[in-house]
Symmetry: C2
Subunit: 108 residues, 2 copies
């Protein structure tokens, strides 16, 4: 019953269950992941512009998230510089967008 000690390289929690949704929920559940997708919804941003957009978040985490999101195929780095969404990432972003209207209704 013990969770096996992870054989990890870049392991995404839940990925060993064979259920992609778990891997996705884990990836998106990491800090700044959703925010990055949100901030890239429009035009591509340079790493520093993205950092500014993300409330000056630590470049350590941002780079880590960007690498993960790139490996996942959601984000790409244009040859002219600047991070942007891939077509796949844009599809994913389409599912994050409705959260905007929901959040407005939610207000808290």
């Amino acid at each position: 019953m013990a969770k096996q000690a992870d054989s990890k390289t870049h392991s995404v929690r839940g990925s060993r269950t064979g259920r992609p949704i778990m891997a996705l929920l884990d990836l998106l559940g990491r800090r700044w992941s959703l925010r990055i997708l949100w901030e890239l919804r429009g035009e591509p941003l340079t790493s520093r512009a993205l950092r500014t957009a993300c409330d000056e978040a630590s470049p350590t985490v941002l780079q880590a998230r960007l690498t993960e999101l790139r490996e996942a195929g959601f984000v790409e780095l244009g040859e002219s510089g600047g991070y942007g969404l891939t077509p796949l990432g844009r599809d994913l972003c389409e599912m994050v967008m409705p959260l905007h209207r929901f959040a407005e209704r939610w207000k808290r």
Copy 2:
């Protein structure tokens, strides 16, 4: 580091920007938040059943997330025991569900 049920102490990053989407993205970007919503998509679960569903995640974090999600109005604790989604939480869950199909297509 005492954690209290105080909603001030549990400040949600981005909430001070006045943009609800930021507060929501931050809340959902915490570990196990999305997973909890996902696991509660069906019938209500007891705290232990939820823990089992979440790969035996630490009860410390689960309780913290459940408290936050309850304060946010997404999750409630039925008087007969067991955690379930509120109507608002069910609306939010509706936006998480499409990720399932997306994840299947994504595969990685």
